[in-house]
Symmetry: C2
Subunit: 308 residues, 2 copies
Amino acid sequence: MGKLLVVGTVAFDAIETPFGKTDKILGGAATFIGLAAAQFDVQTAIVSVVGEDFPQEYLDIFTDLNMDVSAIERVKGGKTFFWKGKYHNDLNSRDTLSTELNVLADFNPVVPEAYKNANVVMLGNLHPNIQLSVLDQMTSRPQLVVLDTMNYWMDNSWDELIQVMKRIDVITINDEEARQLSGEYSLVRAANRIQAMGPKYVVIKKGEHGALLFHHDNVFFAPALPLEEVFDPTGAGDTFAGGFVGYLAETRNTSFNSLRNAVIHGSNLASFCVEKFGTERMLRLTKKEVEQRLKQFKELTQFDIELL
Amino acid sequence: MGKLLVVGTVAFDAIETPFGKTDKILGGAATFIGLAAAQFDVQTAIVSVVGEDFPQEYLDIFTDLNMDVSAIERVKGGKTFFWKGKYHNDLNSRDTLSTELNVLADFNPVVPEAYKNANVVMLGNLHPNIQLSVLDQMTSRPQLVVLDTMNYWMDNSWDELIQVMKRIDVITINDEEARQLSGEYSLVRAANRIQAMGPKYVVIKKGEHGALLFHHDNVFFAPALPLEEVFDPTGAGDTFAGGFVGYLAETRNTSFNSLRNAVIHGSNLASFCVEKFGTERMLRLTKKEVEQRLKQFKELTQFDIELL
């Protein structure tokens, strides 16, 4: 069975959308990545850090899904990373109301022995030095390393980010970040430039406008499924990434065609994530629902024009 | 051979983009619709009005492509409709610098006798009363009537627009217009509401973010082809509509599956239109280029996930 190593935040989120608000609920990039990857036949370990305030029942969620949580460090007396945000009416933009790094400030990732030869490594959005430390601990070059990052690291840790980019295969970023990273407005040109910085594949996430996968002159596109209502976009990008790496770790096939399918699986799972607050929808997602929606994705995008 | 009747503006445009600017060049909705439809095996007539200042060489463009221009009225002493606009740096928005209705102010469309039984009627963006007048002149109910309209008519001629909507099969509008017309923010809900107002099919054009086709609970999506550079978006929406109706008039098949293909053909042709100023690219477009890019559309969107 394919082995997937995920490093990223396991956190508390407090979310406000036009439809309601939550107290501190389970959140964090690694959480959403892990929950999405759990839809695939794969062994997953999560490397992260939480505080003493992090409830055992939340950790049990991961173990119940057969994830290895031995590398989620629980810091005595520490407080868990906390993010509070409020979405605007169109749900396409949000204000961060509060970010408390807490135990994340001194996070020192330790890769479990059994995962030092993982097939796929997913580097969730974190300081590039933490991402580098994880790669340094691998005893064999993973088949595929996927990096998620954000504009904050471009602004504050450019050199370190450039170092990570040289050691990965796929980068996932949003359209604005792709423009910032490359200095190009056109996403086609941006993707070309970014490939020259290291990753062979560039995934550009455009939220409700879908996701693009670039590889040399090849482009693949997956739309977001048009939904009657988007309730809470929190975690959609990480859920996309989780579906993407989960599929690739299961199939252990990293051809371009396989990555195309992975983009569809990621988009498919992300379409569930946004239907409820936080992880709520992902926690009660059935295989049947996933399969049914994949069918919708086919109907949404597949056509039958004969070419000469 | 299928017969296509197009009513819409034939005009002068003056365009400014970040890449350059033009003097008065050939423009107008019916122009772009006609040029796109000319890629298909179909007989097309254009119903429009121009002034005495409209050059014969522009009219020759249509006749050289075997279009019937007998119903393009040329008003003695009149001046041709003129639009001048400037695009912002991201090309997603523009300012109208000048609109001179000129001969369009008294446009009285006359459908050519031979096209009163056209298979497909494309009602380009015009006053709803002009669109109604065209429908009233048809001797038989066309197989398919497609309406393009805009927010201006929603603001100023709501009742007349509602009357047109009851007599058409497909409406093409952009996302903001769909929201205004329906009062719904979600495009899925907006499309449902709009279908209840008359059209069985709703096409929502999202510019660089592609186009959605709605029919009952079915949705189909075509992305815009990611381009290295978008030079001038003028006419892209009309080119899309022209490819859409051209394909449907050629095949005379108005099933949902046929409309899906039509959306792809429209998106495909629109991807050329934006590569040069005005009609420049469409005027020297070859069948081989069109076919080649359809292949790119397949590669962009088609995937191969087996479902149970």
